[in-house]
């Protein structure tokens, strides 16, 4: 590839200039600082983690820690709960889509409602957890309101009933995360040409039909992005919720123990960093599944653009 300007064969708006030859050192200069930081934080940690998981107090013990982890019912329970939380993701995506569509149909007050919808995303998790911790008590404000409205059948023990607690947690997470999806989807919808919608209206298509055949295909990529992002959240970024909502107990019983909590407790409360490291390695390998999905998505889109 010779230097100079290559004719643009890309979609309009895409960058057309590609500098020099593949062997150029220039880009590496730009990328270097980022790589340095990432190597220090991620590279070192992963290697050290693998190493630690194979030792106990300095001595090599092979896979002993892994054996102990896998035979611990609490660990598998934690993984199971992460899995159950994943079930909430499609529900979350559905809610987000539904509300985005609602907003899309709204002419007046769109800005206001959109701002309101996104607000939970701005709040800190500890704040959210404390407030919900107060609101969701069995005899707390929400249940009191439900009871006075004659709905005491659904005034459950949101935080205290082990059968319900995990779903309560999922609910709180969804409450906070849905705004993000709404904003993403709505923005995408707004870029779809209005002609399509007008045509549909002329054809006499109703609400559901319109959105099923026009909106859904248009938002599929962004929906996919959102689903993957939230799935990652449910596996890797729920520690804060559990820690604050259950005072670090993962209760009631073990109903809300997730793998992050398991790792944290072993490392920092029970002084068993090697076991924690082994569990962390397993969690890391598990998330590699997501990495593969993510990488495929990225490579596809990058190849399109370059």
């Amino acid at each position: 590839m010779t230097g100079g300007v290559a004719p643009s064969t890309l979609a309009p708006g895409r960058i057309a200039v590609r500098r020099s030859s593949p062997g150029s050192w220039q880009p590496w200069l730009w990328i270097a600082p980022a790589i340095a930081v990432l190597l220090a934080i991620f590279g070192y940690s992963i290697v050290a983690l693998f190493g630690e998981s194979l030792t106990f107090q300095g001595d090599w013990v092979g896979l002993e820690n892994f054996g102990l982890i896998f035979s611990d019912p609490l660990f598998t329970t934690g993984l199971l709960h992460n899995g159950l939380l994943l079930l909430a993701v499609p529900v979350l995506a559905a809610f987000a889509t539904f509300f985005a569509v609602l907003l899309f149909e709204t002419k007046r007050g769109l800005g206001f409602y959109r701002a309101v919808v996104f607000m939970p995303y701005v709040l800190a998790v500890p704040v959210v957890a404390v407030v919900f911790g107060q609101l969701l008590q069995r005899n707390g404000p929400i249940n009191e309101a439900l009871r006075s409205a004659g709905l005491s059948a659904i005034a459950l023990d949101w935080l205290g009933d082990p059968n319900v607690a995990l779903w309560t947690m999922a609910g709180v997470i969804m409450w906070k995360e849905v705004g993000f999806g709404v904003v993403l989807i709505l923005a995408r919808m707004l870029t779809v040409s209005t002609e399509m919608y007008e045509a549909a209206k002329l054809d006499g298509a109703g609400f559901w039909r319109t959105h099923w055949s026009i909106t859904l295909p248009e938002i599929r990529p962004i929906l996919g992005f959102y689903v993957v992002t939230e799935a990652i959240t449910m596996v890797s970024w729920v520690f804060n919720y559990v820690y604050v909502l259950t005072n670090g107990q993962g209760g009631p019983g073990n109903a809300t123990v997730v793998s992050e909590l398991y790792i944290y407790r072993n490392a920092f409360q029970y002084q068993q960093p090697e076991l924690a490291a082994a569990a962390a390695v397993i969690l890391f390998l598990g998330t590699m599944l997501f990495v593969i999905v993510f990488v495929r998505m990225q490579r596809r889109s990058l190849r399109v653009s370059s």
């Binding site: 880009p27 590496w28 790589i35 500890p126 890797s236 604050v244 793998s259 920092f268």
Partner: protein, 278 residues
């Protein structure tokens, strides 16, 4: 088809749904802000009502604790880590967007995939090495780790955006003899104000609200960030709800203000950066 019902039923149903949704979204914030001004009894008796006899006791109690120190710590850590992250990510993103080179797509994919790794996985080895270096309870360790964690998403977002800079402008600059550095600073950056601002806001949100890492890495009381202080606060004063709510309100206020002001361009930039390339 029932055109009549559709004409009158539709919008009404929609507004009802929207209002319910807005109520649910706003309720906890509302409870928090009003609770801060109530007394303990008032809160228990009427948690949803407006404060009948507003009092500032909660705020006073909160402020006399370590609150100001924690607040400053959060400002320092968040500010430094976000500024550095955006800078380093912008450099790297330009490197990815403007050149093609061998291994580029693979490297980029790997970097972006780092988002998937749970922070707790990194925490154990990083904590241990931090202890060895004597960097526990120092700003630099926490800031460095935050930068590391924020980089993947930042690089992802900025690379996507920089890829959309029109080639014609860059070509014109090249013809004028501009170096890549000048092109970057004089042309690309000014064009990227919206996504850069958005990225900064997203990162500020993340860093300000981060709990786990700060909890473990900032041991000494004078270095704790606001989030740590607040969570401990809650168990210490769990009988004094107004104080807890006051603390939470103060903690949330800066972010809310930033969000409300920058809301429009924020959302614009967020969607511009994320949805391209999908």
């Amino acid at each position: 088809m029932i055109p009549l019902a559709r004409r009158y039923g539709g919008p009404t149903v929609r507004y009802v749904l929207l209002s319910v949704f807005a109520l649910v979204a706003l309720l906890p914030t509302y409870v928090m802000f009003t609770g801060a001004f109530k007394s303990q009894d008032q809160f228990i008796r009427s948690p949803f009502g407006l404060p009948l006899e507003p009092s500032l006791d909660g705020f006073v109690r909160v402020w006399s604790a370590q609150f100001p120190v924690w607040f400053m710590n959060s400002v320092v850590v968040t500010g430094a880590s976000v500024i550095l992250t955006v800078a380093v990510a912008a450099l790297a993103a330009w490197g990815f967007a403007n050149w093609s080179f061998r291994g580029k797509s693979g490297l980029l994919a790997v970097i972006i995939s780092l988002m998937v790794i749970p922070p707790v996985v990194l925490l154990i080895p990083l904590f241990q090495v931090g202890a060895q270096l004597g960097w526990i309870s120092t700003y630099r360790l926490l800031i460095l780790i935050y930068i590391g964690l924020m980089l993947p998403f930042s690089i992802f977002m900025l690379t996507n955006f920089f890829s959309t800079v029109p080639g014609s402008i860059l070509e014109a600059a090249r013809v004028d003899g501009a170096s890549s550095w000048t092109t970057f600073t004089r042309i690309v950056l000014p064009l990227s104000k919206a996504p850069l601002a958005t990225l900064a806001i997203v990162n500020v949100l993340w860093a300000w609200n981060e709990l786990l890492l700060a909890l473990v890495l900032m041991q000494s009381d004078d270095k704790k960030t606001l989030m740590i202080g607040l969570t401990g606060f809650q168990s210490r004063y769990s009988l004094d709800i107004p104080t807890v709510m006051a603390g939470m309100s103060i903690a949330t206020l800066p972010l809310l203000v930033v969000y409300l002001i920058g809301q429009r361009s924020f959302i614009q930039g967020l969607t511009a950066g994320s949805i391209k390339g999908e």
